[in-house]
Subunit: 346 residues, 2 copies
């Protein structure tokens, strides 16, 4: 089987035979084979055991025929070893028992080498490259500095980011010191992944949509840009995905990345225009669209492809992670439809 | 004391002495006098007891000096008497025990007269008009058809609106039948409020930001438009607020309303341009900005006023409801700053 490099080509805005497609959170609970493994391990143990991480990373490649694999991991893993007391509480998502809210708290954060903090991530990547040889490229990833900050300041998920924003407004110096450390942590973590064999990296700014443009520009953008700039010499595509950030797109694009990911709240043509055609774009089907009929899914694929309009540099994806209750046959139908319908258009 | 009508004037894009300001959820837990009452009643009992609803509605008018009062009520009250089994579970928000997910469920929804379903709302408004005479205007409000639908389909709050969207995609006929009923329910509920004395009405589409533009246009906009059109002959300003809907603004504006509310995720000048200058605009300070220093609040007020640029028809507000932990002195400082700084600009 020949190596399928259409994902990497699209990242570089080179011609492709059909539009490449992968799905955020494609290694996940909608797959029975994933749930079978998940029943035996808690979430962090899965991340920390390379054999398990490798197995679940490969599952969607086999089942869906996607054009890229993405390492199974949690976006908070870069925090390992930094003195952050992270736990995945049952049914609650991540909980951090020592939230960071002052300069003193920030000073306590250790910035250590990623190889020392998360050696199992590098190991999983090396194993995956071996397993995937001759198939599809492997994407590494990390949470973005703001998204990591929002977790460690709130101590958990949040709806309003009250403590995070209060820290920006009340203790801007402590905030900037925190973001500087996190930008370095994310840089090291992604560099380690690239060194281990990741052929592209995605930075997820999952919660940045809570911010208005002024706050993003002042308190976040410089640090996202720092990570992107730091990785510029690595010669692998950098994907920058900011969720629910339609009003920040120009700034996200300015912060950098070879590919800008967009959610489903904006039409892809409008998004690309605002991002700039000098960058590739990734997106942007509503993950919940996969609960519709296959006809309705196909209609939406056609709409998104029409908005991409054959322009070089479109990677098809969902606008957010695939939902755990998604019928797997609909995910398969999506991948098939993207390939079939994008071929017809040429 | 002379009647303060600058809010109503701004709704009609008439000249005002200073920019009017009120705060979404201004009758709320950030006020000690509210918490004292809340300690004695559960939430729905407060809504259903006109004397209590009147008292908490007046509290922020006294404490903050805002330019409008808004009836204390829940956005789900229009569902009362419709056969929807609504409960406010402790710490969980609204729970609906018989979620609506099929045509059979939709058929069971009763559309009755609002006076019969929620007489206490009309009574509270009549009492408030008496109490407020000579002070500030009174705003009535309702949840929008989509936001009501999302609650009764999900059965509770949601992060992904999986059942709501699945109903649109899988059973579009049942969805449209549901939205038609809800548009009629919202129309009757708001007409009743106007008849009882509400001098303006706001329709809150709190959760519509979960939708992409295609879904909004197809499954939601016609029904929001229906409500707005139905109320056109009532001769009171209609405010239409769609939360987290920056990418839908043109469509929201097309659906109608004399004033379009915007959240803080978009700069006000860009938002107004997209809405169209033939409509007034309401917004758009991040509610969490009220956790900052008074200097930082003032900086943001200046920025928003500068973006409004003295154009007729700006009502200052938060971009979402005020947070329960907001320091009341910061809310007071905000109101004072809006009045002072908007006067200087003229």
């Amino acid at each position: 089987m020949a190596f399928n490099d259409r994902f990497l080509k699209a990242c570089r805005r080179e011609p492709v035979d059909v539009t490449p497609v992968w799905l955020m959170r494609q290694a996940g609970r909608y797959l029975k084979e994933y749930r079978d493994i998940r029943a035996k391990y808690d979430f962090l143990s899965m991340c920390r055991t390379p054999e398990v991480a490798v197995e679940v990373t490969l599952q969607p490649v086999d089942r869906l025929g996607v054009d890229a694999a993405i390492l199974f991991a949690d976006i908070l893993l870069p925090l390992e070893g930094m003195g952050i007391d992270l736990e995945f509480a049952k049914g609650e998502g991540p909980v951090i028992h020592n939230p960071v809210r002052s300069q003193v708290d920030v000073d306590k954060i250790r910035v250590i080498e990623a190889e020392e903090a998360t050696p199992y991530v590098a190991e999983a990547i090396r194993m995956l490259r071996h397993e995937l040889e001759g198939r599809v490229p492997l994407i590494g990833f990390s949470g973005a500095p703001f998204t990591l900050a929002s977790y460690i300041v709130e101590g958990a998920g949040s709806r309003d980011y009250r403590y995070t924003k209060a820290m920006m407004y009340e203790y801007p110096q402590a905030w900037h010191a925190l973001m500087e450390k996190l930008a370095e942590i994310v840089t090291r973590y992604l560099r380690m992944q690239i060194k281990a064999g990741a052929q592209a990296v995605q930075m997820f700014d999952s919660w940045v949509g809570a911010l208005g443009p002024m706050d993003y520009e002042r308190f976040v953008m410089p640090y996202s840009k720092l990570v992107m700039d730091n990785l510029a010499d690595e010669n692998v595509p950098r994907i920058h995905f900011a969720n629910n950030a339609s009003t920040l797109l120009e700034l996200v694009s300015k912060a950098g990345g070879d590919v800008i990911g967009v959610d489903w709240r904006i039409n892809l043509d409008i998004a690309w225009q605002r991002i700039g055609y000098d960058k590739a774009i990734q997106g942007n089907l509503d993950p919940i669209a996969l609960f519709g009929t296959q006809e309705s899914i196909e209609e939406r694929v056609k709409d998104i492809l029409a908005r991409a309009n054959g322009r070089l540099g479109h990677i098809f994806n969902l606008g957010h992670g695939i939902h755990k209750d998604t019928p797997v046959e609909n995910a398969q139908a999506l991948v098939e439809a993207v390939h079939r319908l994008s071929q017809k258009q040429q």
